[in-house]
């Protein structure tokens, strides 16, 4: 049994049929990349898993249990975390408050803060600043730090490199690699070299469907396949 099973999921925005039967699975400990062009349904797949945009048909199972019909906070309580596109840090909360809020109730907030600041030492310096005043790269660090201390077994990571300078992207990639050591990742990423570098397997999404899948091993050096995926 896979940790996450997405089976023939159909999701709509109003009357717009966005996901037209997405099927994929993620094994425990894996990093799986969802790649594809803009607007093909990658982010909607993550939103459907989280029940932010609940599917109208199909099933999403986590650890063997269906998530369909649950509230998003109940999905989170089961161990599914989210590092969203555009970071979505709480701009009017300080960096420290953003991290504290992400520590699950009952867990040690101070230990969570220490974990976050050890992973991202820059954040310690800005602990008392409103998160909205941070740069894009710093906000991405904070977003990943929140995912880190939220004690998830599965993290859904959406476009972590979007809008960041190449040097910052390297830092983000290193951070995600560190997170992946003890967390399963489902990663949406348009930066194909980055996705292939981080992931064990990939799915290609097009027009709301999975159209290709496989292991990432050797793809980066297989020019013909790399070109096809890039297209």
């Amino acid at each position: 049994m896979s940790l996450l099973e997405v089976e023939d999921v159909h999701t709509y925005y109003g009357e717009s049929h966005v996901l037209e039967g997405v099927t994929l699975d993620v094994e425990e400990g894996e990093v799986v990349a969802l790649v594809g062009r803009n607007g093909v349904g990658k982010t909607t797949t993550l939103r459907s898993i989280l029940q932010l945009t609940p599917p109208r048909e199909g099933d999403v199972r986590y650890d063997g249990e269906s998530l369909v019909g649950l509230d998003t906070h109940e999905v989170a309580d089961r161990g599914v975390g989210w590092i969203p596109e555009d970071r979505r840090v709480f701009a009017h909360l300080t960096v420290e408050e953003n991290v504290r809020l992400s520590v699950p109730p009952g867990s040690d907030e101070e230990a969570g803060l220490e974990t976050a600041f050890e992973a991202f030492p820059d954040l310690r310096e800005f602990a008392d600043r409103d998160a909205g005043t941070l740069s894009g790269g710093q906000q991405q660090m904070l977003s990943i730090a929140r995912g880190l201390v939220n004690e998830n077994e599965l993290l859904l990571v959406d476009e972590p490199s979007e809008g960041l300078a190449p040097l910052i992207v390297e830092n983000v990639a290193e951070s995600l690699q560190a997170v992946a050591e003890d967390t399963t990742l489902l990663l949406v990423e348009q930066n194909l070299p980055l996705a292939l570098d981080l992931a064990d397997r990939f799915y290609v999404v097009d027009h709301g469907e999975v159209v290709d899948e496989g292991s990432t091993e050797g793809v980066a050096t297989d020019d013909e396949r790399f070109e096809r995926l890039s297209a």
């Binding site: 932010l52 509230d71 809020l101």
Partner: protein
Amino acid sequence: MTGALGTVVEVFVSGMAKASLYAMMALGLTLIFGLLGVLNFAHGSLTMVGAYVAGLVMVTFATGSGLAAVGWFLVAALVAAVLVGGVGAVMEVGLIRKLYDRPPIYQILLTFGVTLVIDELARIVVLFYGLQPRADWRGALGTKPGFVDSNTALLGASVPNLELFELAFGVLTVVAVWAFLTQTRYGLVVRAGSEDDEMAAALGVDVRRVFTVVFALGAGLAGLAGALLMWDPAWGASVPLASETLLPAFVVVIVGGLGTFRGTVIAAGLVGMVDAVTTYFFNEGIITFSGISELTIFLILVGVLVVRPQGIAGLAEVGGH
């Protein structure tokens, strides 16, 4: 005879007491708007219900005088806050929740409708029990202990103890709400949930419950304000208290910058002080014109809207027509 310093002290304390009352009237309104984006037109009616509930507790149960009566007042205020907060929770779950995704006009119309219902129900109840709906409830006013009705000598002034009591009550309430929002985990959850409900939910926050708690808290503050007004002869428990408090509450919230806690407190201070100063000059100083304080409040609103439309602490809108 009061000297110049004494007059300044009297006007200052009066202004601060008025500021406390305005802050109490507006706090719940600004919390609900700032955190949920709902303009609750029923806020004044909830304040009026709080005044009647607190008055009922005082008239029915309060015994003794002096500090015992003040103790009973605190019990009555707590009962009013909890009961009116409960009404707010029912309103949010039963009515408001269904309209979060609709344009604001739906919420305004709904809460305005709730106001009409609550006011009519209150009118029926007070008539049934033989109370005059348009006059202040003298029985409730009469539960005030003698020392609250007397004055204290302060720096050459004779300051009404009721004003000092209102000032202390208002300051404690503002500090308590501020501490809840900034110093507690649930306050953190509330601020996060109101800023980005999807992200908060993805971090495990039950956002719907948070919204209910915020609405109940805002309504409970209206109930608390009502309890305080019930003892003040300038206000008192009456059905028209609903509209009498709603208008100044809206003025304070708009002047402060819609939905900002800090702005609301500053605006309450400004409106209270201007009210006290103009009341002094036009009631006792230059000419006698008792309607001036109400007029002044709305002049402040007009002035702020012209000079700084986003209010004292609000963020400027970009664009528009």
